[in-house]
């Protein structure tokens, strides 16, 4: 048991290093660009910004005349104190305030779609690997691979066009209707679910195939292993072999992939949110890009990185539970 705790601590150490690297990257990128970042910003916002906004931006980037290390130190201190700088588009609102309002919706939408796609995809993968002489195994993988070939956001556009505009089945934008008041009441929750169905389904459809295919392929490898043949010879029931012998081991690469895919899926989720005007990080990202709001973009990068790192650590814990080899 102490081994597994030391493993988790080692992983935590790695995520801290990764977080530190992200922080440093965030600090370096504006300073690495040709010319000095302050003058780039000046040039882009000539006449559009109040002098105090520019001064606040210099402050939030730590763009003082101090030596680089001193700037870096005060930048780190600021971030650890939860200060991500001041937004340009929503001046003088601090970036952390703007982001925290959207983070909940992104985690809700992306998390929900991810868990549904992962569960259905993995189960389908187990099933079609088991029945791989059947019709489903020749039909389903190419169909889902074709769906997976579409960019997330484009499929979102199309489904919004068909189910939102033409058929009028689902709302066109936002996370809940404007006639319900946010809170723990039934009409609000129903409205939230109603608004999440279409964006969630497009994301689930695009990502389902990947989970299913990787589960199917590892499952097929596992089904050829000697211990499976032996279990079959012993007379253990097929169902038991399928789920407790083969699937239990074949799921491990998928589980590792789950952590790895988080960043990718969140990226797709951000673009999908933009199409559905869903008030999460994606919507903020679009605003930030449109108004060249560098502090907001960097704030979004930081929060999403931290969320992904935290989720990866949870995946490590799950792997520890499922894979006894890591506990040795």
């Amino acid at each position: 048991m102490s081994k597994s705790i030391s493993y988790l601590i080692r992983r935590l150490g790695f995520y801290l290093v990764a977080a530190f690297a992200a922080l440093t990257l965030n600090f370096i990128i504006p300073r690495m660009m040709p010319g000095d970042p302050a003058s780039i910003i000046f040039a882009r916002f000539r006449g559009k910004l109040k002098p105090e906004a520019i001064e606040a931006m210099r402050q939030s980037f730590g763009l003082t005349n101090d030596p680089l290390l001193v700037q870096y130190w005060s930048y780190l201190k600021g971030i650890l104190g939860g200060n991500l700088g001041t937004s340009i588009a929503y001046f003088p609102e601090p970036v952390s305030n703007i982001i925290s309002s959207g983070l909940f919706w992104t985690i809700f939408l992306a998390g929900f779609s991810l868990i549904v796609a992962f569960s259905i995809g993995t189960l389908l993968g187990i099933f079609i690997a088991w029945n791989r002489t059947g019709k489903l195994d020749t039909l389903l993988p190419p169909t889902l691979a074709f769906l997976g070939a579409f960019p997330y956001f484009w499929l979102a556009m199309l489904s919004l066009y068909i189910f939102g505009f033409s058929l009028n089945w689902f709302p066109l934008s936002h996370a809940y209707g404007n006639q319900v008041s946010p809170g723990l009441n039934l009409s609000f929750i129903l409205s939230v679910i109603y608004h999440a169905i279409l964006p969630a389904f497009t994301m689930i459809f695009v990502s389902l195939g990947g989970w299913m295919l990787s589960m199917r392929n590892t499952m097929i490898s596992t089904l050829g292993a000697d211990y499976i043949t032996f279990a079959n010879a012993k007379g253990i029931s097929s169902r038991h072999i399928m789920l407790r012998y083969a699937a239990r081991n074949a799921i491990l690469p998928n589980l590792t992939g789950f952590g790895m895919a988080l960043g990718f899926i969140l990226s797709g989720a951000l673009l999908t949110e933009i199409i559905f005007s869903y008030p999460g990080q994606g919507y903020l990202l679009l605003q930030a890009v449109k108004s060249q709001d560098f502090p907001l973009m960097q704030g979004i990068f930081m929060t999403i990185t931290f969320a992904v790192l935290a989720a990866n650590w949870l995946v490590d814990i799950a792997i520890l539970i499922f894979d006894p080899r890591t506990r040795k």
């Binding site: 579409f150 484009w154 673009l271 890009v289």
Partner: protein
């Protein structure tokens, strides 16, 4: 000299094996068709940026795919958009595999401290979410294909490096590598001449996978407005469609042709990868063998049957 002959036959045998697979063949034909269009198409059509007629007019005989919000021909835009999108996508695919092979290969071959350091860097890049990182990089750099290429390569190489590292570690302890080391070959030569050709399938499917990623991510960035919006690419086509309120005006023809092209290209690339897998993955090859030999009605469950093999 003898060595060289042996390696060229590995490569040619590999190609003829892959091409004989139906999925790979179909995928390759479609990709070649799109590449052909991307190269010569722009010479045959009218200018994609010219104002031609009523904005947002639906498909007709005159404008096959209709016109967009700026009164430009969507058909011309779809064809000339292929050029930059495919060029940047495939170039990023190649670069990502090269860098991945270099860093992953060095880490796996040398091991020890070198591996510890490189693995740490690889893993850090792996857990960082791609799109937000690409967005901040692309927003600081001047917009254009060069920026897109650089950003895609920087965020895409780590996955390949990780896979190549673990492959390299299994090759490192094989007899032929030990023999090469004993006979005094240089490490770089062993990595490039002896080991890499044996990873051909892996490298090829990585190139294809990375190109799919690069095309998708590139379109995503340009859709956000981070590309050079004065150029005609598949990404900027979608950017303008969304900017000109394609959905509100119900003008589906401004975004459907481009999106379908992207999907068909990605799907064909996926088909090639399926084909490579079917031909070179021993597990899938043996799957095919037993399926050919045992009649369907004799199979009661999903467990791989045990076959006596004479091959």
């Amino acid at each position: 000299m003898k060595n060289k002959i042996q390696h060229s036959s590995i490569v040619t045998r590999w190609f003829s094996g892959v091409i004989s697979n139906k999925k790979a063949l179909a995928g390759s034909c479609i990709i070649l068709f799109f590449v052909f269009i991307a190269i010569i198409g722009p010479f045959l059509i009218q200018s994609p940026t010219e104002f031609l007629g009523t904005p947002l007019s639906p498909p007709s005989n005159k404008y096959l795919f209709g016109t967009n919000g700026q009164g430009q021909d969507v058909f011309s835009q779809t064809i000339s958009g292929a050029r930059q999108t495919l060029f940047v996508g495939f170039s990023a695919g190649i670069l990502v595999v090269l860098i991945g092979a270099l860093i992953g290969g060095i880490a796996g071959y040398y091991g020890g401290r070198t591996d510890d350091l490189l693995s740490l860097i690889i893993n850090i890049f792996l857990v960082m979410p791609g799109l937000p990182l690409m967005v901040i990089l692309a927003s600081w750099l001047p917009p254009g294909p060069g920026t897109l290429l650089g950003v895609l390569v920087l965020t895409g190489w780590a996955w390949n490096a990780r896979v190549i590292r673990s492959q390299m570690m299994t090759f490192r302890n094989r007899d032929f590598v030990s023999a090469a080391i004993v006979s005094g070959e240089k490490n770089i030569r062993i990595i490039i001449i002896e080991i890499m050709p044996r990873m051909l399938s892996l490298l090829a499917s990585m190139f294809i996978g990375s190109s799919i990623y690069a095309i998708g991510a590139q379109v995503g960035l340009e859709f956000l407005g981070l590309g050079d919006i004065s150029r005609v690419t598949w990404g900027t086509n979608l950017y303008w469609a969304s900017n000109d309120l394609a959905l509100l005006t119900e003008s589906w023809w401004t975004f459907v042709p481009t999106g379908l092209s992207i999907a068909v290209v990605s799907f064909s690339l996926t088909l090639i990868n399926f084909g490579i897998d079917e031909v070179t993955n021993p597990r899938l090859v043996s799957e095919r063998l037993w399926r050919e030999k045992i009649p369907k009605k004799n199979i009661s469950n999903g467990i791989t049957p045990v076959l006596k093999s004479h091959e």
